[in-house]
Each structure stands twice: as C-alpha cells, then as structure tokens.
Symmetry: C2
C-alpha cells in the first residue's frame, strides 16, 4: 500500500488538477463540482462509483441537487496518496465539460 | 404546492418513521443509514435517485463508504412538508432490511 505523497508531489498534483485544493482542517483534497441539474450530477456519481469500486477507493461526497462536494483522503495512510490523485483525475475526466 | 406540515403532524410522522429525527439548527428531518458496504449504500442511493427524479424532490445527502447521512427539507416551503415525509418513507422502504 502506497503511503502519503510528499508536499512537493502534492503541490505539483494540485497544480496539475483543476479546481482541487487542500481541505481545511484535514489531510485531504477537495473539490466542489456543479452540474446542469440533479440528473447530470447523479449520472456522474454513478460513473465515479464504478471507478471507486474498481480501485477499492471511495470518496467522501455530499450531493445537494446539482452540486457535489468531494473530499479525498486515504484512511489507511492517514493522508493524501497517489490513489487520491488518480481518483481526482478520473473524477475530472468523467465530469468532462460538465463541471 | 403544499406548505409546511404543522408540529403535530410532524411529530406524528417522525413517530411513525424509524430513525428519523429533527435536524439540528435547521427546519429539516434527518437520518443516517448504514449499509453492508459501499456497493450496498450506493445501490440504495441509485434507487432513491430514481424516486427523487419522479417526485422532483431531492435529498441532501452525504456518503462515506457504507454510511449515508440524509437531510430532507422543502426549500420552496422553507421547512418540512408532506413530500419530505413521503420521501423519508420511500427511503426506508428501499433500504428494507439493510438499514
């Protein structure tokens, strides 16, 4: 199991990703997605859920109508790992032009 | 559009529902569901999402692995309406023996 990425790698990853930032008061990264409506938001969540199952790595997320707030962290490593960066990238890819 | 239910109707509805309670600091009702794992939690969310679309009434919900925290309120009525009670009942029905 890979451990936490170091500060430089994390900064580089955040710079590379769009709209992701360090979470407040937690060792995690976060992003809020906005979709056209609930249908679009939940369709995206369904696609992400499949990735989560495949990776065995699950987001913390909160959905209110067309908004989805996501927090990614790796509980086993007690912080942000490469798996979180990979998941973030997949989420952005699946959101495509929608978010 | 139906308005807020009165205190007596709300108390009766909460008594009838299992595990639902008044939300803190908001005019809403809330429940936390626990499922077997993420797959079961998200399968339930998919079923609820279909009901939400059909009712055009959407939950606020937060999923962390096998847990889903739900908050129901009717923004147009600025409080809890019969639609929230109906949605709560549907959620419980769909959760069946799982939650």
């Amino acid at each position: 199991m890979a451990g936490k990425i170091d500060a430089a790698a994390r900064a580089a990853a955040l710079k590379d990703l769009k709209g992701w930032q360090d979470a407040e008061e937690r060792d995690a990264i976060t992003k809020t997605y906005q979709f056209k409506d609930f249908t679009a938001a939940f369709a995206w969540m369904k696609a992400v859920a499949q990735v989560a199952e495949r990776m065995d790595h699950h987001p913390e997320w909160r959905n209110v109508y067309r908004t989805v707030e996501v927090v990614l962290t790796s509980h086993d490593a007690d912080g942000v790992t490469q798996r979180d960066v990979t998941m973030a990238r997949e989420m952005d890819r699946l959101a495509g032009a929608q978010a």
